[in-house]
Amino acid sequence: MIRISPTLVRRETQGGSSICCAECGHELTEAGSASHWKDHAALKSEPVAELPGWSASVHPDLVLRQFVCNGCGHLLDSEIALSEDPFLYDVVDG
């Protein structure tokens, strides 16, 4: 099992290796496949302006994206972005 972030690991499988939730081991996607693990996680997206502590000046199209393990509900990553912008894709080789 190889760490690729504080919330994700790469695990060896029969067919190769997979990106998995570090908390519960749920497999998100095959490592090295064309699709990124974020495309297979549950995504919760909500307007940043509705979060406590934020000013009324915050851009109305700004969202907090939370990428969640569909196995255990653990938060895997988050990013704040304009709703039309693509996900940020991080890739650890191996």
């Binding site: 495309d39 549950a42 919760k44 969640v68 938060l75 704040i80 650890v92």
Partner: protein, 604 residues
Amino acid sequence: MDPITYSIIRHRLFRVVEEAVITLKHVSGTAITNEGHDLMVSLYRADGSLLMGGVGFLHHLTSAAEACKAIIRRFEGQIEEGDVFMLNDPYTAALHTSDVYMLAPIHHEGKLVAWSACFVHVSDIGAMNPGGFAPDATDIYSEGFSSPGLKLISRGELRQDVWDTFLNMVRSPEMVALDLRSLIACNNVAGQRMLALIEKYGADAVDHVGRTLIEQSEQLLRQRLRELPDGQWQSRQYIDVKGETAKVLLTMTKRDDTLTFDFTGSSPQSQYSVNCTKWAALGGLFAPLFPLLCYDITWNQGAVEPIKMIAPEGSIVNCTRPAPVSVATVGAIQSVNNAACSAIGKMLAASDKYKDEATAVWHANHFAVFMFGHTREGRLAIDTLTETFAGAGGAKTYGDGVDIGGEMPNPISRMANVETVEGAFPIRYLFRRRMRDSGGAGRYRGGLGGEIAIVPHGCPDGGINFVLSGKGSKFPMSDGLAGGTSGAANDYVLFRGSETGSAPRMETDAATLSGKPEPISWGVFPLGSNDAFYLRWNGGGGVGDPLARPIADVVTDVATRTVSEEAAEALYGVVFHNGRPDESATRARREQLKAERLNTGVHA
């Protein structure tokens, strides 16, 4: 060379820089230098390459190296003992015109052996807006005096014509003169101490240590990079100015012992002065790189070698002349800094060995408020609100960020005492405190930013004016890590026309400020006798899942007014009833929030 002599010389090189910084502060009289520590001193080798990076704003370490090289090219054959050169053109090497580099060659027995270089943000540079940050500027020509290199002191003699010409073009020339003298004094001390070192150990020995230190730094950084996983990490920053949104997009790729920062995909250069030049962008990425990857490696040219930057020409991170850049240091440069901090943090967090060195982004949005007006003594004063340097720590993978905890690119930044500002400027603080809920949520919480409100006080003109280069109210910039959220964004509000009459204003928080609120962000604004200016600054990013934060920690957060009860329930799932935590309701709330993530979440 024996290792003890080597270590002594290495240590003495550090001390040369430190003593030069002390000298600079003793001579300079501005709050931005003495309180905010918006300064830098470093030593360079004879060819201009970085020998010993000093403290202060780390963005400047590589840019000042380029400034040395530019002077070497321009003045080839004319660089003599006792000369001092000045350079502040952003398209040559500087970050923006108001950060003036002073560069002094150090000669030993007639031979050029090194350079000392330093900068301060001078009180004024003659730009269209006072203080150097010029939100109204449309091009570099409206951003004040700008030199690609001139000789200010020739063989120890001040060139009075050059000195007078420069001071003739700036506001508050007496303070700017003090700024220049502080830089000259700083270089004098650095040069004297370097010569003392050479006299004691010999020029060859000092040169040998310099070369070896550079070789070691390169070897050590390459070795560290080899220990980190190969991969690619992305980060994105938004910069908002008057409805125009620009992006700084970074893809950082680590292969074997090299690291490439690619800003392809970033926005075209802006019509506003938030752009930066390529040397400034390079400095911006090195500011977090030095402390995060080279915390135990000497900051010199060797640490620069394994790093490559790709910055498309004509973009906001490599603008072309005559694009305006006066707000670069708190604009594109800081966004480059933030993006690099985020990407490096994610790379470190992917490593078992280095995960504890990872961090969310620290204080990511300077607000650059320059006040100008007449003091009670009738003197024109220009100075900054140094709260911008107070910062906020990003969370780590093992602990919370430090409240008002400084910033990554300047390890010695700080803010002035309220009384110091009130003594120097005709204003009064209504309050200054930590800003509740401003730290990014996470298993480890980001450090809080702060909030202040100021009013004019004893102004002979009935009020003052201030220049605000205040991007960052629409977009947070202190990114979180591994699920942690960003610190809250900045906010700037003018409260116009209080009806308190002649009674002293005693408001103690934003909710009680009287007057008509007017959100502002960019430009020059009057602060009249019945007005108040409210400002809050961003907190640091959080790390990890907020629902994993121990309940006891959240209870402490609420008790210390770090987190509100509303945020405790909404973000951390900790429920309070009548001011006390409710354990069973908290368990239920956390389960509910987890279920909501799965139920309302959709597969992307």
